[in-house]
Every structure is written in structure tokens, then in C-alpha cells.
């Protein structure tokens, strides 16, 4: 059932292309704007890296978080229109399946978006990959995506259909995802070797992201039903 819900969401996106035509360009322009704000600042001493290279991992994840807000709004806007969410509930779709399905569809879109953002950082900020860090990079990428999708779906379901949801969602969601921003940024810094960080230093940070993903995955499975059951 969760698979069906996920397929439905991805099919809606495939036909409407809102994420592709609006959210992705938005994320890209955010990356460009970061460069406007930071590119001219002097390069810190003792490193060969420019300031943009140093802060690139954090900027990638910040742009991801902003895009996450838009994707979550979109994910529940399609449910709130025409009472689709109620229809699904009446049709007997288990809230757990609904949660897992919507979270997986969100995760797929988010993962694609992050890959593009990393590409943008490689192109625009002069970020360089290193061979040894690929495992850590991919592990962080997948785990952080799952955690963000879970927590986004959970809070998105709460704000769905409520008045003022556009402004409520960032207020609720951004404080919650702070651990992902911290953990994933440090892990990616280690994976890319920024400031000569060893790859081994990144794995504890990956642990932070993993604990977050597990906690909110479980929290979502438990809490999503009571949240939308109205």
C-alpha cells in the first residue's frame, strides 16, 4: 500500500512537474545567491580553499532545507485539494502506509534535488570530490534524505489543510531539522576533505544523521495517524 501511495505521488509530480520546474530552479538560484553574498569575502588564511569552498557543504544542506519546505507544501497541497487526503483515509488506507508512501516519494524527489545541488557546488563553488570520501558522502546523502523526508512528511501532515500552513511549516520544521543540518554538513565536509578533515572524523556525524532518521522514522510511523485522523 505504501508503494502505491508513493507511486501516486511520483506520478502526480511526473505529470505536473512542479518540483522539476519550480523547486529545482529555486534551489539553484539559492546556490547562486549564496555566492553573491559570500564570494567577495577574503579567503581565510592557511588554507588553499576559497571561502565558498569551505562553506559549500553547509550551503548545499541549507538550500536542501529551503527546498524541503517547498516540497512538503507541495506534497500536501495535492492532498488537501479536493479532500484527497480524506478520500484516502475513507478508502481505508492505513495511516502508516500513507506516511511511508508519502515519505518515500518525498525522499526520491529530495535525493534527486540534492544530487543536483552537489553538482551545482562542483560547478559554481569549485568543490572537489575525493575518491576515499565517496562512501561517506553517499551514506550521508541517503540517510539525511530519509530523515528529512520522514520529518517533513510528519509535520507536513499536521499543517495540511490548516489556515496559515505556509508560515507555520517553517516555524515547526526548521528547529527540528537542526541536527541534520549540523550532522550532514560536518559529514560532507569530512567526505570532501575541507580543511584537510580526515574521512574518519565524518563517521560520528553520520551517526547523528542516522539516529535522527531512525528517531523520526519511528516517530512518524507512530504519530502520523493521530495527527491526520480528524
Amino acid at each position: 500500500m505504501a508503494g502505491l501511495v508513493a507511486r501516486k505521488d511520483l506520478r502526480v509530480e511526473g505529470r505536473g512537474r512542479v518540483a522539476l520546474n519550480q523547486v529545482l530552479p529555486f534551489a539553484f538560484i539559492v546556490m547562486v545567491m549564496f555566492a553573491f553574498a559570500l564570494e567577495r569575502l577574503p579567503t581565510p588564511a592557511n588554507t588553499g580553499d576559497t571561502l565558498l569552498e569551505l562553506v559549500a557543504p553547509g550551503l548545499i544542506w541549507l538550500a536542501t532545507l529551503f527546498s524541503l519546505l517547498l516540497l512538503v507544501q507541495r506534497s500536501f497541497a495535492i492532498e488537501a485539494d479536493d479532500g484527497a487526503l480524506d478520500a484516502l483515509r475513507v478508502a481505508g488506507v492505513d495511516p502508516v502506509a500513507l506516511f511511508l508512501g508519502k515519505a518515500s516519494a518525498l525522499a526520491v524527489q529530495l535525493a534527486a534535488l540534492e544530487a543536483v545541488l552537489l553538482g551545482a557546488a562542483l560547478l559554481l563553488y569549485g568543490t572537489e570530490l575525493r575518491a576515499g570520501g565517496v562512501v561517506l558522502l553517499v551514506a550521508t546523502w541517503l540517510t539525511a534524505t530519509c530523515g528529512l523526508a520522514a520529518v517533513g512528511t510528519l509535520y507536513g501532515g499536521l499543517a495540511a489543510g490548516a489556515r496559515g500552513r505556509e508560515t507555520l511549516l517553517p516555524l515547526l520544521l526548521l528547529p527540528v531539522v537542526a541536527p541534520v543540518l549540523i550532522g550532514a554538513t560536518r559529514a560532507v565536509e569530512a567526505a570532501l576533505g575541507i580543511e584537510d578533515t580526515a574521512i574518519a572524523d565524518g563517521w560520528p556525524w553520520f551517526g547523528v544523521v542516522a539516529v535522527f532518521a531512525v528517531a523520526f522514522g519511528a516517530g512518524g510511523v507512530l504519530a502520523f495517524g493521530p495527527l491526520i485522523d480528524e
Binding site: 489556515r163 516555524l171 515547526l172 537542526a178 541536527p179 550532522g183
Partner: protein, 247 residues
């Protein structure tokens, strides 16, 4: 005829003693307690700062417990939901006081308003999280919807806060060797100072209980008013329908 009020004899006594406690705190904090050797007069800020931080944490614990009781009890009594809401409101108030007094104290003692210390950062997150919780309470819908939604959010905050605190602590400890004066540094306390702090905690606790009781009663009155408005509207519609039928 008496004006309806949320006060009773007990709450008036409670309010009076809270006021008395605050008076005592003023006398001890500003008068009797000595100034500190290192912090000079700025130490007096702490007689407000520490008790309000304490109370904010107590308030959020009460919110979490009341939310849990609401969600998991068979009866789903709305009184628990209103207790959670009232406590969170007062908690946010005390947390705001904590942050403002802490910044003032920090400026005098450390020379800066803000330090990216784990405890400070977590406190700021806590503040924002419960502002979000209060926003969720105002989403609208029936009282039961509000109660269930906000109870779930309050319990998710219990999940979130330790995670934020843990990650922020890692973030700090791995990236910064030593902060300036730590706020939790062991300070040998003068007896009178300790007593003033104790007075502060007692006074603020009384104040907290008094505020929560009143706020909870106001909320109950608001809910009753909404219900009555709804009943009146329903009755009006029904009367309209019968008139039409008769006509």
C-alpha cells in the same frame, strides 16, 4: 451580583503569596545579598535568571506530561489539554525572561550578548519550538482536534529537544577548544546568595502555579463560549428551517 472571575479564595491567597515572594526576592536580590567578587553587581540578574530558567523547564515538563496523559488516557479529558497549553504559554514567558536576562548578564560578564555554547543554543531552540507549539494550538478546528494535534506536537518536542541538544553539544565540543567563562562553572556560593536564589525559585514557582491556574480557567471559559456560540448558531439555523417549513 458578582462579576464572573477566574479567581477563587484559594487563588487569591496563592496570588498574594506569589506577590509577597516577589517582594522578598526584590529585598534579598537587590538589598540583603552581597555583590560578587568577580561579577560585582551583575550577579543580581541571576536571582531572576536562574529561577525563570528552572520554571521554564518545569513548565515544559508539565506540558509534556499533561499531553501524554491526554493522549493515552481513555477519557481524553480536555482539562489535560488546557493544562498543557497554559503551562506552555507560561513556560514560553519564563524562557523569554531567561534569554533576555541571560544576554544582559552575559554582556556584563563575558562581554558578549551571545555565546554559541550548547546550553544557550538549546535554550534558544526550546524557545522557538514551544512558540511553534503555541501556533499549532491556534490552528483552529474543534477542541478535540486542537488537543490531539498539540499533544502529538508536544510529545514530538520531547523527541526533538534531546537530539538538538546532543548534536549542538557535539558541534561545539569538536570545533571549539575552550569557550570563555562557562555558565555552569562551579561557583562557591555565599550563604545569603544561595538563600536569595532559593527565595527566587519559591516566588517564581508560586507565580507559575497562579498564572497556570488562571490561564487554564480562562481557556475553559473560551472553549465554553465557543461551544455556546456554536450551539446558538445551530439553534438559529434550526429555527430558520422550521419557519420555512411552516411558511
Amino acid at each position: 451580583m458578582t462579576t464572573p472571575s477566574t479567581g477563587t479564595r484559594a487563588t487569591r491567597a496563592l496570588g498574594g503569596s506569589a506577590l509577597g515572594g516577589v517582594g522578598w526576592l526584590l529585598a534579598f536580590g537587590l538589598g540583603f545579598s552581597p555583590s560578587d567578587r568577580n561579577q560585582a553587581e551583575s550577579v543580581r540578574i541571576l536571582y531572576v535568571h536562574v529561577p525563570s530558567a528552572w520554571l521554564a523547564y518545569l513548565a515544559f515538563v508539565v506540558t509534556a506530561v499533561a499531553s501524554g496523559v491526554y493522549l493515552f488516557s481513555k477519557r481524553h479529558a480536555l482539562g489535560w489539554d488546557r493544562l498543557a497549553g497554559a503551562s506552555a504559554e507560561v513556560g514560553v514567558l519564563f524562557m523569554g525572561i531567561t534569554l533576555v536576562t541571560g544576554m544582559l548578564w552575559g554582556r556584563l560578564t563575558w562581554g558578549v550578548f551571545w555565546e554559541w555554547d550548547a546550553r544557550l543554543t538549546t535554550t534558544a531552540f526550546l524557545f522557538v519550538t514551544y512558540i511553534g507549539y503555541l501556533a499549532v494550538r491556534r490552528l483552529g478546528g474543534t477542541h478535540e482536534q486542537r488537543a490531539r494535534r498539540s499533544a502529538v506536537i508536544a510529545l514530538l518536542a520531547v523527541l526533538e529537544i534531546p537530539l538538538v541538544h546532543w548534536s549542538v553539544r557535539l558541534w561545539r565540543s569538536l570545533h571549539q577548544e575552550a569557550t570563555v567563562l562557562r555558565p555552569d562553572g562551579e561557583v562557591k556560593m555565599d550563604g545569603l546568595m544561595l538563600f536569595s536564589l532559593f527565595v527566587g525559585i519559591v516566588a517564581f514557582t508560586l507565580l507559575y502555579v497562579w498564572l497556570v491556574i488562571h490561564r487554564q480557567r480562562t481557556m475553559a471559559a473560551e472553549d465554553a463560549l465557543e461551544d455556546r456560540g456554536l450551539d446558538a448558531a445551530l439553534a438559529a439555523r434550526r429555527a430558520e428551517a422550521t419557519t420555512v417549513e411552516v411558511g
